[in-house]
Symmetry: C2
Subunit: 581 residues, 2 copies
C-alpha cells in the first residue's frame, strides 16, 4: 500500500549510507520491569492453559519478558515447529539506551518503544502474547503462574497458569537499592519508560515549585538540588542530559532561579565510569567539574528521608546529610523476588544471581533457559576438568602429553574453555610454546612432553581470565539471538552436534557455547578511547553517539529510528518542551 512505499524509501535512504553504522556504543543496563513482583503464596485453583487446541504436537515454548533478551529471541526464532507464548507486563519493547534522553525530552518516550505484537505478528512462527506478570515458576510441574496487571473487571480471572516444554526466562532485573533505607520510597529509578517520564515531570515540577513566590532563596536552593546516585553509564548520561536541559532550555524559562540549580553526582567508588578506560573517566570527571556539576566520589548513601539524603564518606566514615528536590538512583541491578523463589526450588538458594551454563541453560534444569540481566553464565573452570582434559588429549594413553598432542587438543579446549584463548591473547602469547615456556622453561620445543602436574601448572592461571559478562543491552540481545539460533537448529544439531568435545562424558556438545562478541566494555577498548570525540558528554555529541548505537542495533525497527531522528529535529528547531505532560 501507499504506506509501504514511503517506508521503503526511508529504508533505502538509510541503506545507502552504511557509513553511519561504523561505530558501536551501548550505554545502558538492559530492560526488565520494575513492577513489584510480589511473593506468590496462593496459586491453587488457578486454571491451566494449553492453547494447542488443534491437537498438534508442537513443543510449547514459554518466554518470560519482552526486554532486549526476550525480544531478540523472538525476532530470531524461525522454526515454525514451536508454539510460543510470551508473557510480560509490558506489551512493548523499549530501546533502553535512550532512556536518559527521554528524561529530559530530547527524545519522546513513544519514539523508543515498539509494540511486541507488531514485532511478532509478521513471523511464520505461532507466537501468542499475554500481558501479565509471572509470579511463580513451578519447575517440578513445568508450569508458570501468571497474573494480569489490569486491576478491574476481571471477575477473579486475573490469574492463570501456562504449561511449557521449554521455558525461556528473560525478565530482567530490578534496581538494586542495597537495602538502603528510604530509597524505595523516596528515589526515582531509571529502568523503565515510565521511570523516565516520571523523572521528566519531577524536574519540571521542582522548577515550578522553586518559582513560587513565598519561598526564601535557601528553600528554593533545596528544591533545585538534584542528586544522581551511581557513577555508572546510566547515571552519568542522565546527569549530562539534565545539565544540558537546564542550561539550554530551562534557564530561559526560569531565569529567576537558574543560579540556584545544583546537580550532584554521588559515587561510592573512587571514580565515575570506572568500568571504562581511565582516559574516559578522567575526561568525564574534568568535563563535569568544568561545567559546574558537583562530583562526590567515595560517598556511599546510607539513608534517604523524604527531605534529605545522607551519605557516608568512605575514607573518614563521616556521615553528612543534604536536602534535595529529586534523587535518581542508578547503582546497578538486583534479582527479582520471583527469580529468588525459583532459585530456592532448584538448589541455587545460596547464590546472588541465577546461574546458567555456557548454553544459557539454568544449572540442573535442561528445559529452562535464562538470559539477559536475570542470570549470569557460570563459566566452567579448566581446573575443575583438568584430569579429564589431560586424559582426552593423551590419545596414546602414554601418561604424558607431547606438544603435538597438546596442539591438536588446543582448539577443542579453547572452544570449551574460552578463557584459555583470552589468556593467550591477553598475554600476547602467539602459540602454545609460549604457554609452555612458563612451566617448562626455555627448552627444545618439539620434543617436550608434559605430565599431568606440568599440564596443570601450564594452565593454572587461565581461569583468572574468567569474568562475568556485563549487564548490558548488547549482551542480552546477543544471548537472545544465540538461543533462538539453537532452537532453530535443535533437531539438526541433535543429529549432528556442532559443539565442543565433552570432556566428561562421550561425544560432543550439541551446540557451541554462547560467546559475547563486540566490545567487552562499550567505551573501554584502546581503539574506542582513541576515537573519543572532544565533547562526548555534552548532549550535542552524545546524541550522535547514541544514534550510532541505535543504528548498530538490529533490534530496532526503522520506525523507531525514524521517530528518534524526527524527535531530534523537533528539538533542534523548537527546543525541549517543559510542559508537565
Amino acid at each position: 500500500m501507499r504506506g509501504r512505499t514511503v517506508y521503503d524509501r526511508f529504508s533505502r535512504t538509510f541503506r545507502d549510507h552504511p557509513s553511519l553504522s561504523r561505530l558501536l556504543v551501548v550505554f545502558t543496563v538492559s530492560g526488565g520491569g520494575l513492577v513489584a513482583y510480589s511473593e506468590a503464596n496462593s496459586f491453587s485453583g488457578v486454571s491451566s492453559i494449553n492453547p494447542l487446541e488443534d491437537g498438534s504436537q508442537k513443543k510449547r515454548v514459554v518466554v518470560l519478558g519482552t526486554g532486549w533478551a526476550g525480544t531478540s529471541f523472538l525476532k530470531n526464532l524461525k522454526d515454525p515447529s514451536y508454539d510460543v507464548q510470551v508473557i510480560s507486563p509490558r506489551n512493548y519493547f523499549a530501546f533502553t539506551p535512550l532512556l536518559p534522553s527521554v528524561t529530559c525530552g530530547t527524545v519522546e518516550a513513544r519514539s523508543i518503544v515498539e509494540p511486541i505484537r507488531n514485532i511478532v505478528r509478521k513471523k511464520n512462527v505461532d507466537i501468542h502474547y499475554w500481558e501479565a506478570e509471572c509470579f511463580k515458576i513451578d519447575a517440578e510441574n513445568k508450569k508458570v503462574y501468571c497474573r494480569s496487571n489490569a486491576d478491574t473487571n476481571m471477575s477473579g480471572k486475573e490469574e492463570f497458569a501456562v504449561d511449557y516444554d521449554y521455558l525461556v526466562i528473560a525478565m530482567g532485573a530490578r534496581p538494586n537499592t542495597f537495602n538502603t533505607p528510604g530509597v524505595e520510597e523516596n528515589c526515582l529509578f531509571l529502568k523503565e519508560v515510565e521511570d523516565a517520564q516520571k523523572i521528566r515531570r519531577t524536574v519540571i515540577d521542582c522548577f515550578e515549585r522553586a518559582s513560587l513566590p513565598n519561598l526564601t532563596d535557601d528553600e528554593k536552593q533545596k528544591i533545585l538540588q538534584f542528586v544522581v546516585v551511581g557513577g555508572g553509564p546510566t547515571g552519568v548520561e542522565f546527569a549530562a542530559e539534565l545539565h544540558d536541559f537546564v542550561s539550554e532550555d530551562l534557564v530561559k524559562l526560569y531565569p529567576k532561579v537558574k543560579d540556584l540549580v545544583k546537580i550532584t553526582l554521588l559515587e561510592a567508588g573512587e571514580h565515575i565510569l570506572n568500568m571504562f578506560d581511565k582516559r574516559i573517566t578522567t575526561f568525564a570527571e574534568e568535563k563535569f567539574q568544568r561545567e559546574g556539576m558537583d562530583l562526590k566520589m567515595g560517598a556511599m548513601v546510607v539513608k534517604v528521608s523524604d527531605k534529605e539524603i545522607s551519605t557516608k564518606e568512605m575514607k573518614s566514615g563521616k556521615i553528612s546529610s543534604m536536602p534535595y528536590g529529586m534523587v535518581v538512583w542508578s547503582t546497578g541491578i538486583g534479582t527479582r523476588p520471583v527469580i529468588l523463589d525459583f532459585m530456592k526450588q532448584i538448589g541455587q538458594a545460596n547464590r546472588r544471581v541465577l546461574a546458567t551454563d555456557e548454553w544459557l541453560r539454568v544449572e540442573g534444569k535442561n528445559d529452562i533457559y535464562a538470559l539477559g540481566d536475570c542470570a549470569t553464565i557460570n563459566q566452567r573452570k579448566v581446573m575443575e576438568d583438568i584430569s579429564a582434559i589431560f586424559t582426552k588429549a593423551d590419545k596414546d594413553n602414554s601418561g604424558t602429553l607431547t606438544v603435538k598432542e597438546f596442539q591438536e587438543a588446543l582448539d577443542d579446549i579453547c572452544e570449551r574453555y574460552p578463557q584459555v584463548r583470552l589468556y593467550l591473547k591477553n598475554n600476547q602469547m602467539l602459540s602454545l610454546v609460549d604457554l609452555l615456556k612458563d612451566s617448562k622453561g626455555d627448552v627444545a620445543k618439539e620434543s617436550v612432553e608434559l605430565n599431568i602436574e606440568e599440564f596443570k601448572s601450564a594452565l593454572s592461571k587461565v581461569d583468572s581470565q574468567m569474568k562475568n559478562l556485563p549487564a548490558t543491552a548488547q549482551v542480552a540481545a546477543q544471548q537472545g539471538a544465540y538461543l533462538a539460533n539453537c532452537f532453530n537448529r535443535m533437531e539438526e544439531c541433535e543429529r549432528n552436534p556442532e559443539g565442543p568435545l565433552r570432556y566428561r562424558g562421550e561425544g560432543r556438545h550439541r551446540f557451541r557455547p554462547f560467546r559475547h562478541f563486540g566490545q567487552f566494555a562499550p567505551l573501554g577498548g584502546e581503539q574506542t578511547a582513541a576515537q573519543l570525540p572532544g565533547d562526548w558528554v555534552s548532549i550535542g555529541h552524545s546524541s550522535q553517539w547514541l544514534w550510532y548505537s541505535v543504528y548498530a542495533s538490529k533490534l530496532v525497527s526503522w520506525r523507531t529510528r525514524a521517530l528518534v531522528v524526527s524527535d531530534w529535529m523537533r528539538r533542534y528547531i523548537f527546543g525541549r518542551d517543559s510542559s508537565q505532560i
Copy 2:
C-alpha cells in the same frame, strides 16, 4: 541563532499558503482543570505576596487559568503598565480541539501543548507565572488564596495569597456528572490532556485483558464494550476516533478479539449533535450505524458501577444495565467549587453559572472579570430598559417618537442590545420600517409617530433572540482577546469612551460590549453544511478539518502546528502506536 533561522523558514512556508486558512471549525469545549478544587476551610495565617518590590505603581492583575481564555488574554495584553500574575495548576496551554485525537494516538499529547512560560516570556509586559491552584477568592479583601499542587518537600509553604487590583477569572469548568452515582469513580473524562492519555492506556489495556487466555468469549465481549456517554461534538469525535483506531490498527494486532469489540454511544436526547444542522446530525447517525457503531438515543445514564452502566429509557422509563470495559463521560460542563463559593460571596448563590455583564465584568464587582467556560454573559434585556431608551430617543421630549428619531437612535440601541440587530436580520427585515409594520400596520412610512406602548410592542419580541454563547474554545479565545484589548486601552477609553450610550446614567460606556464573531455553532450554518465533505466523521477527513481549525486559531504557535503535522506524517507512515505508554 541557527534554530531561529529554521523556524523562520517554517513560518514563511506557511505564510505563503494563506489558502489553508480559509475555513474555520472549532469542535470542543474549552480548557480548564479537572483537578479537584477542594473546598477551602482553613486559609488563615497564609503569607501574602506582593511582588512589587520596586515600589512601582503598576496595577496588579491576577489571571486565574491558562486555558483558551486566560492564554488568549495574556497573548493579547500589550500595555506594560500592568504587573501580571498568572496562577494555574497547568503550566501549559493545551489545544483542546485535538484531545479526541490524542486518545487514540493520532496526535501526540506533547504536540498539542505549549508551555505557558514560553508564551509569556517574549512579551514586554511583566508576567509572572505560579504553578498553583486557586482555592479561594476573597473579593472583600482583593486577595486570592492559592496552593501548590506539588505534594512534597514544601515544609508547609504550599499555600500563599496574592493581592490584586484586577482579577481575571478564566479557570474553566469541570465535567458535569449531574450527580449520577458512580460516574466520578468509574468513568473517564475528556477535558484534560491527562484524561486523553489515560483513555489511550485504558483502550490498549482492555484489548490486552480481553486477549488473556483464560477468558470466555462472553467475558471478552464485556471487556471490549466501550461506552461513550454524550452525543455532543467531543463525544462524537472521540467515538469516531476510537472506531478508526480499532478498525485501522488494533484489528491487525488483536485479530482474535476483533469481532468482539463494540462501541456504544449513549445520548439522553433524541439525536446526537443536536446543536448542529439537522443534515449533519442525520449524516453522522447514518454513518455511525453503517459502520457498526451502536447508537442509543433517549437513554439517560442513571448509575455506573465498577462493572455495569445502567440507563433509563426516556420514553418507557425502563431501566437496563450493561457491562462495560471503559466508559467515557462527555456530557457538558459544570461549575467548579471555588467558583460556587465565590458566587455565594457576591450574591449569586442562586445561579448555576457565574454571571457577567457584556463587558465580562462579574455582576456587582467592577474589578473582577470572568470569561471562558467558567462564566456566562448575562445580556441586558431591552424590556428592562425600555422606558429609559424611549426617553433618550425622544430628543424633543414630545412623548412620542418619530421614525426619524427612532432611526437616529437605532445604532446606539443595536450596539447596546445586539439582540435587536439579530432580530432584524433573522426576520429578514431590511429597515426599521419593517419592524414598525408589525406594530403599526402598513402605514405611510415617514409620518408615523410611536408612543411608549407602541414602542414597547415593536420591540417586544427582540429579547427572544438572546442566547447564551456556547462553551467553545472559540468564544473563550475571543473573550480573552477582547478583554486584553480593553486593558490595553483602559486609560485612553477612560478619557474617550467608545462604548454605546448609557441609557441609565450619563455619557457613554467606556468600551464596546463583547461580541462573538464567527460561526455561532461550528458546523451549524447553512453554508457549513453545504461544505460538508463526504466523509467527515472518518479520521482521514476529520483530521483535515481539525487542521483547518488549528491553522485558524491565532493562539497556536508554529511549533504546535509543525508538531501536529509531523504526528500526522508519522501516523501515515507507521500507523498508531499500541504500546501502553
